[in-house]
Amino acid sequence: MAQQKIKKSSLALRSWKKLVRNKLAMLGVIVSTLMIFASIFANFITPYDPSKIDFTNMAKPPSWEHLMGTDKMGRDVFSQVLYGGRVSIYVSVVGAVLGSIIGMILGGLAGWFGGKIDLILVRTSEVFLTFPNMMLVLILVAFVGQGINNLIFIFFITGWMTPFRMVRNEFLSLREETYVEVCKAFGISNLSIIFRHILPNTTSPIMVATTINIANYILQEAALSFLGLGVPVTVPTWGNIMNAAKSIEVIRNYWWLWLFPGLVISVFVLAANFAGDGLRDVLDPRQ
């Protein structure tokens, strides 16, 4: 067993070395993890309570006490961005991971059993894919209402199709592989073949798809909140902070109210995408 152990770790080691060499991907991984930790430990970083209203210093430009200035209610934008990160990242990560899990399970079932199940699942995925994404989200918001958990529900309902396709294709091709026949010959049950043998092979594309989905959902949460349909208004998220930027007056005079949240969203999504790309190159055998 020891022999097998070393081999496995060296694979991970090798992938890690390749990842490290890809400078952009490393940058992505570092920046995104840094931002995640900054959000989680927000209360250590900023003394201010994000929702504390303080009429004495309303809409002040960035200064030493308030790194990103204050909004129209005197709330510190920097702490809003940090605390906002918690919800935005939480919603996107959970949404993406759940979406991938559902995608993998359904993909596995459709790919492995084929026939009727496969047909139904593929048709449903087509129906979901046929919907223009924004339209589907808008209707689901009207259907389910606003709220953090509802948003997560919306994200994984609109996000399972890509992982589903990937896993299904992987299954269709792997199903004919000889080692699968060998497992069957040994009398290993279908379920364990699916989950112990075939699914591990699909982890690499799934990881890439999940990272890209996380990046997309951050954007979508921001977009929805910008339209006023996202997470409830009083919960600070990156989108809600940007909501203030809808009025031309804010765009004109209070540049820090939209510049910093916008930059933060862009940097995080950029980092996630770089990490995703890096992951794809590392795990892609051909590279």
Binding site: K72, P232, V233, S247
Partner: protein, 527 residues
């Protein structure tokens, strides 16, 4: 060398295209392009009566003064009210004609009142009066094909009411008369969406010259107008994204708003003068106290809890912080600047200790989260509600603040999934504010129950016109109001008119922008 020549050329092209617009010799008005405004047709005047182009396009029987207290003649030359106050005899003028030349007659008045009674989208101040015309109920239910209490012979209209209505004449000063010969085939229920509104024909000083749906409408003086001839040759109503850049670009001359961010911006623009107007535009909390069959909402049923809310929130600081110079704090339905205001009404100054004590007295269940809701989309309202949530948190009340998912009317009176909701009311008179307490209000009984404590006084108010009697009735109503505290009054919001005085000379006297009043537009002129 070649490369930057191209860039230069492109820049010039942009600049030229950007200023292709030449300022025409006209008065520019503004409609925001958000929502469905003006997408396919113009808005009808039976809900919002106050837009300048509606005032100039459509006349009512009488023309109120800017303070909406007195009326002068307009389509009608005079009126007489019988001693018992139930019969109104109104004599029509001969001169007025519709913009297509046909004369305005008493039949138009009868047609308009009957259509209003059956219309789906109409301001309640009209139905408030017309529903008291004798035979109104039968007419609405379809038993009779015409209103028995409203008759016309020649140019005299007689209106018989089943009870005295104090503000009847004032309401008739708002009610726009519609052309019978153009609208008689339209089903009253679909009056607001009739194709008439793609090219409306009015009877006022100006007529519609051109309408480009979704973009702009142009009005010019009506040559056969029987009143004083206006000096402004053209009025242009444009749909634009933002009033401030429009004003800067010289595409906006008259605009009214109560949005703080727009006000601070418009005040900076050269050549613009601001005219603040005090109006009964209320901002207040409605409370989900009990439903129409009296089942109370435990969290809010006890009046001491509602009193505690008034003490717990520093409305004064919020007014100065969020609505500087706009919001005036109110403690009853009557603003403090009005003579009828009850001087010894309880003035809830910010007193968190008193609030906590009241909450303890009413053994308020602190573990429960109060549901705070609102339906306005602007950022200032969102900030207001988050601030309120924070004040309540300081007295130990947990709150969950959200914007209503559905439309306000459904959420406020049918779904009722809330404890406290921020509401607005643009009232014509005190009848609207106190009408909400009456048990005949089909919406508010769902959240206040049908006790009817206010019914007697409200009906009295509705019936009297005499100012001194009304002042006494208002005093009683204010006392009732403070006793039950069914509604938590917060502010009346001032409205500010901005005029490009560098280009337009006006009378400088402005009234409530939501209603019809005499702009004396004939004296306006372009410099």
């Amino acid at each position: 060398m070649k490369k930057n020549r191209i860039v230069l050329a492109a820049a010039i092209l942009f600049v030229v295209a950007g200023t292709a617009f030449t300022a025409e010799n006209a008065l520019y008005l503004f409609i925001p392009t958000t929502g469905a405004t003006m997408t396919t047709k113009l808005d009808h005047p039976w809900v919002n009566r106050g837009d300048l182009w509606k005032v100039l396009m459509f006349r009512s029987l009488f023309l109120p003064d800017p303070t909406l207290t007195t009326v002068s003649s307009d389509l009608a030359s005079s009126y007489r009210i019988s001693s018992d106050g139930l019969t109104y005899t109104i004599t029509m003028k001969k001169g007025p004609t519709w913009h297509d030349g046909t004369p305005v007659t008493a039949d138009d008045v009868i047609f308009s009142v009957q259509t209003a009674l059956k219309a789906a989208q109409v301001n309640a101040i009209y139905t408030g009066v017309f529903s008291h015309i004798i035979g109104a109920a039968d007419y609405i239910s379809g038993k009779t094909s015409s209103l028995s209490g409203l008759t016309a012979n020649g140019d005299v209209v007689t209106m018989k009411l089943d009870t005295k209505v104090g503000n009847a004449i004032n309401v008739l000063g708002q009610f726009a008369i519609m052309p019978k010969h153009l609208l008689k085939d339209v089903n009253p229920l679909e009056f607001q969406n009739a194709s008439f509104w793609t090219h409306p024909v009015g009877n006022g000083m100006y007529k519609l010259q051109e309408f480009n749906p979704g973009n702009y409408a142009v009005f010019v003086p009506y040559e056969k107008y029987d009143g004083p001839k206006p000096k402004i040759p053209k009025i242009i109503l444009t749909a634009m994204t933002d009033p401030i850049s429009a004003a800067q670009a010289g595409k906006l001359d008259l605009y009214n708003t109560n949005a703080t961010d727009q006000i601070s911006e418009l005040k900076k623009i050269k050549g613009f003068t601001s005219y603040p107007v005090d109006i009964t535009f209320y901002r207040y909390f409605v409370i989900n106290i009990k439903d129409e069959n009296g089942v109370p909402n435990k969290a809010m049923a006890d009046v001491r809890i509602r009193k505690a809310l008034m003490y717990a929130i520093d409305f004064k600081a919020l007014a100065e912080g969020l609505y500087p110079g706009l919001a005036r704090q109110i403690y009853t339905g009557v603003p403090t600047s009005f003579s009828a205001y009850d001087k010894d009404a309880e003035q809830y100054n910010y007193n968190p200790e008193r609030a906590k004590q009241l909450l303890k007295e009413a053994n308020f269940d602190f573990s429960k989260t109060l549901r705070l809701r609102f339906y306005y989309g602007d950022q200032t309202s969102i900030n207001f509600m988050t601030a309120v949530a924070q004040y309540l948190a300081q007295v130990g009340i947990k709150t969950d603040v959200q914007k209503f998912q559905g439309d306000a009317t459904t959420e406020l009176y049918k779904v009722k999934d809330y404890d406290i909701a921020l509401k607005g009311l643009s009232a014509f008179g005190f009848e609207e504010w106190y009408g909400e307490y009456a048990s005949d209000n089909s919406n508010f009984i769902n959240i206040m129950g049908k006790d009817g404590y206010f019914d007697l006084k409200v009906n009295e108010l509705r019936a009297t016109t005499d100012p001194t009697k009304r002042a006494q009735i208002l005093l009683d109503l204010q006392r009732l109001e403070q006793k039950y505290l069914y509604k938590l009054p917060i502010y009346t919001m001032q409205n500010i008119f901005f005029v490009n005085t560098a280009k337009v000379k006006t009378t400088g006297v402005f009234g409530n922008p939501w209603f019809n009043w005499d702009y004396k537009f004939a004296d306006w002129e372009l410099k």
